[in-house]
Symmetry: C2
Subunit: 505 residues, 2 copies
């Protein structure tokens, strides 16, 4: 081919919608089974986020209908506060658009998932998405829209007023799917969703055949996450440049103090001294080199506190154990937590529950259930960092000298979950997360090994307790006869108190 011919080569750009249209398997829409699961998941996550933003206990209704020729329709309705009407078209009809770009924990992060489900529905069944929402006073509105894939923009087919009794949003998507094969996963997803969000009620109806309601297991709401300023160790040149553009300070010290968390005037002065920069340097004389130097300095400076965790919303001990206990038969539960720690300046909290009970299969290692920002992850386990750490842990030390019916539930909370792919199914190998997970498993393992080694003691205790019970009963009987009582007083609570101290839960 001559250079002449090569010059004919066409160069062109594609929109992000076009990219995911061509590579839908990357966003979890590779085949009809996965499509059912991903659509359900994206809609439920959106619904839960909406309810939590509204400060309400989530009540999510999901209806799945399997029509002829494998057209599946999924409808999910939440009890949030609805969507601002002038944002509906963009929020649902444009990829990489949304309200999820603040620095705080949310389930959705990309402005990608639901739009991807709509796009998949459109290309497989040519059906528009139907969105009904009521926001504030008055009636609600209904929208039907498609996506212009080449332009990455919504095509609004209709917008009508529609009476809706309560606030909230319902979204209905029709697509080519294999409900029969996806059904088990979907049900498992719903069940595990209430482990991560135990104050939610999920009401489901699958093809009018399987119906039911899961949760709530607690009335306690999870801690609300609040947006924060970036941590100084999260900087790169790009971020500093952006913060400089937004900033109204005049000196570099003021800039640092107002733009970052964990950076008061004292720390800022120390940091600038460490980098040999005059704190009074005016911002408008900073060159690209200065910014680059500032960036390097902030990454290497040791004196910052851990990142603020108010932007996170972990499950919490009471709710997490309530969720597991309500969903599975358990005879033993232990909860542990690591963090706040950070990866690349992003705050992270790790929580875990190690449970033993009939519900779990008997094995050399506990069955792993993974969650990220309280969302269950059901696919792609084998490449996940959690899986790796569970494999590396020597469970024999922790009560697994013989196989146990045990399960391990892990939840990572962060403002930025390091997903391996846009399908959001597994966690990348981040050193800090690996280290803390390993520590968490040791803590949980020790609880279990204590429990197992006290197994023999427990059996002895039961026997002892029976004897005490009998003897104190006799004492009570004779005592009450001596005192002329009609019947001996109850003694069971006395025995109880005697044994309370040494008992496991």
């Amino acid at each position: 081919m001559s250079s002449q011919e090569r010059s004919v080569q066409k160069f062109s750009g594609i929109s992000p919608a076009e990219f995911f249209y061509r590579n839908r398997q990357m966003a979890g829409f590779g085949n009809p089974t996965q499509a059912v699961y991903s659509t359900v998941r994206e809609l439920i996550e959106n619904g839960l986020d909406a309810c939590e933003d509204a400060g309400k206990a989530p009540e999510i209704r999901i209806k799945i209908v399997d029509e002829d020729s494998d057209n599946v329709t999924v409808t999910v309705k939440d009890n949030g506060t609805g969507l601002p009407y002038d944002e509906v078209a963009q929020a649902f009809g444009r990829i990489l658009y949304g309200s999820k770009y603040e620095r705080r924990q949310k389930r959705g992060t990309f402005g990608l998932g639901v739009t991807m489900a709509i796009l998949y529905g459109q290309i497989t069944t040519d059906s528009p998405v139907l969105i009904c929402t009521r926001f504030g006073e008055g009636l609600g509105r209904a929208y039907r829209l498609l996506i212009d894939i080449e332009k990455n923009a919504p095509i609004l087919l209709s917008e009508t007023t529609k009476r809706q009794h309560s606030l909230g949003t319902s979204v209905s998507i029709c697509f080519k799917g294999d409900l029969k094969r996806a059904q088990e996963r979907v049900l498992e997803y719903l069940r595990l969703t209430t482990v991560g969000t135990p104050n939610a009620r999920i009401i489901f109806n699958i093809d009018d055949e399987i119906q039911g309601c899961i949760g709530p297991w607690t009335s306690e709401a999870p801690k609300t996450s609040i947006p924060v300023k970036p941590h100084p160790r999260a900087v790169d040149v790009e971020l500093i440049q952006r913060l400089l553009n937004e900033c109204e300070s005049t000196t570099i010290r003021d800039f640092l103090v107002t733009s970052f968390q964990q950076l008061g005037t004292r720390t800022a002065s120390k940091l600038l001294a460490f980098m040999n920069i005059d704190p009074k340097t005016p911002l408008d004389v900073l060159t690209r080199q200065d910014i680059s130097r500032l960036c390097q300095g902030m990454r290497h400076y040791d004196g910052f506190c851990s990142p603020d965790s108010k932007c996170l919303s972990p499950i919490g001990e009471a709710s997490f154990t309530a969720g597991v206990r309500s969903t599975f038969n358990t005879s033993f539960l232990s909860y542990g937590r690591q963090g706040v720690f950070e990866w690349q300046g992003n705050p992270v909290i790790l929580e875990g529950v190690l449970a033993v009970g009939d519900s779990f299969s008997v094995s050399d290692t506990p069955t792993l259930y993974r969650m990220a920002n309280r969302v269950p992850l059901l696919y792609d386990a084998s490449e996940d960092i959690f899986t790796k750490v569970v494999r590396q842990t020597s469970w024999r030390r922790y009560g697994f000298s013989k196989p146990q019916p045990a399960a391990l539930f892990l939840n990572v909370s962060s403002t930025r979950i390091p997903y391996r792919a846009t399908g959001k199914q597994s966690l990348a190998h981040i050193m800090e997360i690996e280290r803390e997970t390993s520590l968490l498993l040791k803590v949980l393992g020790r609880f279990l090994s204590k429990k197992v080694s006290s197994g023999g003691a427990a059996a002895r205790n039961v026997k002892k307790r029976r004897e005490y019970s009998e003897l104190i009963g006799i004492v009570a009987k004779y005592g009450s006869e001596l005192a002329d009582f009609d019947s001996p007083p109850p003694t069971e609570h006395i025995v109880q108190r005697l044994f309370e101290v040494s008992e496991d839960e």
Copy 2:
């Protein structure tokens, strides 16, 4: 939170560059080790594509320099025909922009990889990318550029003329990387690259310590891939709509014949009869419903031929075995191929080489080396469809009744590789690929089991050959004495011919 407060929630869009800036681990830039590997890989792939487009045997020079403070600079130079000067800025400074969107096999596919490496360099070291290219007559040009992440657009810092002796492009990126930890993988990647592209020469220099040259192992160029029209089973509503917009036909039959491969006038007539559509229907009366019906019909119609394979460029038996033989010590090699078959209308060819030799570790199953469009895949093996099929194959049946020092090389060629993630490291579970891989492994396995079961026979053959050799030698000696020759004639080629038929390679 009241609905009033919720309305304050900020909605906004982000550019694709911003998306990958925030989620760089998804594109293979999650940590400094991976970053080295991904940068090398993306630059080498781009270089190889450029050479093959130019119709030249690839000669790729790669230089990696590890500067102080973990700044690594990777420079890759190809001998392609250079880049049109007015496309350089966009091609390197804009994500999802490129020349790779035709329907034919190429290594790069997304217009994402190299731009992502540049973006990563920029945010970690604040250095611009340096591109030198010569396209056609005259001097070459040098460019320094950064990416405006928020806008997804290039920021051109400088463009100068620069003397360059030969055509081609060199790209130099400086970024935060861990060369020491990545080095092994990089070398393995280079070695395996010449297995998939055995006519390439790769000249490498790592930090002036490790230098060398790999390949070429053959002078035979791989088959050039040629763009094709879409296969009818690849349609969705979106594709038909686009083809209609481009099309100059007036009737639906003409449209089908001119827009698709494997659709001549006869097949088009049959297809339309199957769908009960008049072949003379003018295009301008088609409604959205008609298009949707057409789409359904085309997907379900059985009478299409397999997709055209001229858009593919597999390695080929001679080159593939030459590549493996030159890179590893092998005592046995077998090659097999499946396809052309299709997934979602995309043509696929699968090739495999099963090899036995000292280079490979002894195991119950062969060590797997994966390739896609001739590019080695070194990460994320455990979720890959190839790995799954290798695990499911009962190797005991195929000569693995005792462990063997064997390896399996698989290469999938397609116009669309179903990568699981933008990092392009593993293949999604596509049913058709799974089925054909399984068939291919059976074919290769049978070759091996034949070889192993003839192991005893081979030993006997060696002994027999030695005896024949001796006896024919004696015959020749006495014969030559009788004929008064100075010395007996050579007999080795006679023995060779006697045994040729029954010999394994």
